[in-house]
């Protein structure tokens, strides 16, 4: 009976881990991705999201949900008018490397 229970728990952990694991990991490590200059900033801010890879359409669509998409430059995606909640939500995405203040060229 114990072996059957262990098997069942392994299955549940694997499925739940696949579905929720990366999100939980992203949330737990979100603080490390947000630049100190953006912490507690008043009002919406303009940011550059740095990814460890070239962004695809999927990443642009994900980040667009938090502000105004303002183009890409290599591994960097510029997003304007992002609220504090949006900043934390973007930082919670495990595939984001870092979020820094936007500096126009």
């Amino acid at each position: 009976m114990a072996r059957v229970l262990v098997r069942f728990l392994i299955g549940v952990v694997v499925i739940l881990g696949l579905v929720f694991g990366p999100g939980l990991y992203g949330s737990a490590t979100a603080g490390a991705r947000l630049s100190p200059a953006l912490e507690n900033s008043p009002g919406p801010v303009n940011v550059t999201v740095i990814l460890p890879f070239k962004p695809q359409l999927f990443h642009q669509q994900q980040l667009e949900a938090y502000g105004v998409f303002a183009g890409t430059n290599g591994n960097r995606v510029n997003v304007l008018n992002v609220s504090q909640d949006g900043l934390h939500a973007m930082a919670a995405k495990y595939w984001v490397k870092q979020i820094v203040p936007f500096k126009p060229a």
């Binding site: 694997v14 499925i15 696949l18 460890p52 999927f58 995405k93 595939w95």
Partner: protein, 278 residues
Amino acid sequence: MRGGELQTSPATAAPVRRRVGPGSSRLLPLVPFVGLIVVWAVAWAVVRPKLATMPSIGQVAHTTQHLWSTGELWRDIGASLYRWGLGFVVGAISGVALGIVAGLNRIVARMLEPVMTFFTAMSGIVWLPLAIVWFGLGTTTVTFVIWNSVFFLVFANTMLGVRSAPRLLDDAARTLGAGRAHIVFHVIVPGSLPHILTGLRSAVGFGWRALIAAEIIGASTGLGAMIYQSKEFLRSDIIVTGVIFIAAIGFVLDTFILAPIERSTVERWGLVSTGRAR
């Protein structure tokens, strides 16, 4: 006998049976998988096909790591599991509930059996073109197709299970003064559990396969959509990655979730024989 030793003559000695130890027997199911990987590696090393035809194990591993690190694989796995879970739960609950209700009435059961068999024989995927017209592309269409695959199978098995519950138990419970509701929940439903669980286990596989097929045409996210979109770019490494995850998730759902439930309920209660080799 000498010195307490038991001696047997060679003619009467029992043949020595080599037994597979418990540790070795647990590893036996891995042997075919290891064999497949070896065949794949050797075949690829000999033939050296193009990426469009067949990727190497290393390419698949690299692609899996890349797709996971970019979040795309997680998105597609999450979308597929969400749709499957929704369709399966709704299909299972509605199938079991309506199956019990229909099975309790002999006339209704006889009336519905042929039409249920008719619809069970129909794969849920045949509803896809109509579902796209009704619901458009996306989660609703895919979930409807899964519900279709699950509901009729579970309904038919549940109805059969209710009809097959031993009448002797029903009569015995009535003799002891049990009411109708008590008989249904404490006699008929437990008695039909083997059929219900068989239906649910089959529905897991049918629903998962219907999901993948539905996502190929009816959705833009999910493992099925990932595979279909990759063919446009001749990315067989992404296709194989998707196929491996589809098979692995289906395997986990059946072997590590449904099978333990079956083993700890109907098998433990002696309602079905395990038929396992000694």
